[in-house]
Amino acid sequence: MRQRVSMTINGTNYEHEVEPRLLLVHYIREQAGLTGTHVGCDTSNCGACTIEMDGHSVKACTVFAVQANGSQLLTIEGLAQGTQLHPLQQAFWDEHGLQCGYCTPGMIMAARQLLARNPDPTEKEIRMGIEGNLCRCTGYHNIVKAIQAAAKVMGEGAERKAPATAPSARRD
């Protein structure tokens, strides 16, 4: 039996009738038409399908669309403000954090969660933080550099906005 689902993706509300077995990643790509979220392995391993669901990074190939009913989702398309790239997007560009680019949307979404929880990670913490994301081009070196660069920019931004209080790890 089909079910009515409604969810907010990048601030826009979407509503559809779906089969319960429809995976969230297919809903996002095919129903909502947002193809920035990729399917890599389809077996919960590679992280190419990573999005944020109610503030938590998830592998959208391992969630049913019906489970996201009523949720707030954020995908790679929701990061830039108009033509202004998100600091993570800019850093991946500047540091050559991508080769073919297939893993990049998932990498950036995973990195976003990492920096939200730990704004000033060590290199090791970055490598552990993206353990759920595979780059088939094996471009990890520059991916790590990009996340380090973004952390720096985002940290400076946070200090400018709130000079009196030090940024603290958000544990959502």
Binding site: L23, S44, G47, T50, H56, T62, Q67, E131, G132
Partner: protein
């Protein structure tokens, strides 16, 4: 990979969920975080025709301290356990295990209730619950019952839950103050499942081991206790030799599997080495 078709309900309360399970019998399955069930359904190794999503039931996600135990709601995620100050302070063993499960995305979705109910012999939480003498509280058509961890994990992917029972809460006895634990996991890549892992909890009194519990992951069809090693160490003064002698017996009585990750021999070796390292880390004796 598309799962077989199924019908889906998302009840708002436990009694409704139990009623849905009773109504649909063996065709029905509980869906929690979905991070074991959905991969199996995508491979069509599991083809339930009815899913009861318990994810929308209120008040099943919490970590609370009671007089005698720490209670975790079945829907508490691995991430919530990993980042809980209470768990870190009282049950470091469980916190360390949580932090080593899968990856951040998996930990954001997977639940401790699902990990227990799934009863994967390579799962990390079942071993912790066995080592910590947890009690698992289930609700079913005939009401509520409590199942000890040692009786809960029956066999590979088989728990003591009846088909229409839902795991509601996990209770872990509060370890005494002079007690600590650790979880050491060995795998080839950081995101991987354990080849072998060891959950150890030791209570000391005046330099002696008053109580020791050692749980083993990946050493048989279900999580096991290293009973011989526990016996060898109980009552002993903490000393490097005593820890080494006890650890050497960690794999006694186990039936480790043979697979691509290693032979039974290799696993026995890992169990002994990890047990020694865990005991050394907890007692500070080397």
């Amino acid at each position: 990979m598309i799962p077989a078709a199924f019908d889906y309900v998302a009840p708002r309360s436990l009694p409704e969920a139990v009623a849905d399970l009773v109504k649909h019998g063996s065709e029905a399955k509980v869906l929690a975080g979905g991070h074991s069930l959905i991969p199996l359904m995508k491979l069509r190794l599991s083809t339930p025709s009815f899913l009861v999503d318990i994810g929308r039931i209120q008040d099943l996600s919490y970590i609370r301290e009671a007089d005698s135990h720490i209670a975790l709601g079945a829907l508490t995620t691995h991430h919530e356990i990993e980042f809980s100050e209470l768990v870190k302070a009282r049950l470091p063993l469980l916190q360390q295990a949580a932090a080593q499960i899968g990856d951040a995305q998996v930990r954001n979705r997977g639940t401790i209730g699902g990990a227990a109910a799934h009863a994967d012999p390579n799962g990390d939480f079942p071993t912790c619950l066995l080592a910590l003498d947890a009690e698992l509280i289930a609700v079913g058509p005939r009401g509520e019952r409590s199942i000890k961890a040692q009786d809960f994990f029956v066999d590979t992917f088989t728990s003591a839950l009846e088909p229409a029972e839902i795991l509601r809460e996990i209770r872990i006895p509060r370890p005494p103050s002079a007690s600590s634990g650790t979880y050491l996991k060995f795998s080839r890549r950081s995101q991987d499942w354990a080849i072998v892992a060891v959950a150890a909890q030791v209570s000391l009194r005046e330099g002696r081991v008053e109580r020791v519990a050692i749980g083993l992951t990946g050493m048989g069809p279900r999580p096991l206790r290293a009973a011989a090693a526990e016996r060898a160490l109980t009552g002993k003064a903490v000393a490097p030799d005593a820890l080494r002698e006890a650890s050497a017996q960690a794999a006694d009585g186990t039936q480790p599997p043979e697979d691509l990750n290693g032979s039974p021999e290799y696993r026995r070796h890992l169990a002994a080495v990890l047990t020694r390292r865990a005991l050394e880390a907890i007692t500070g004796s080397k």
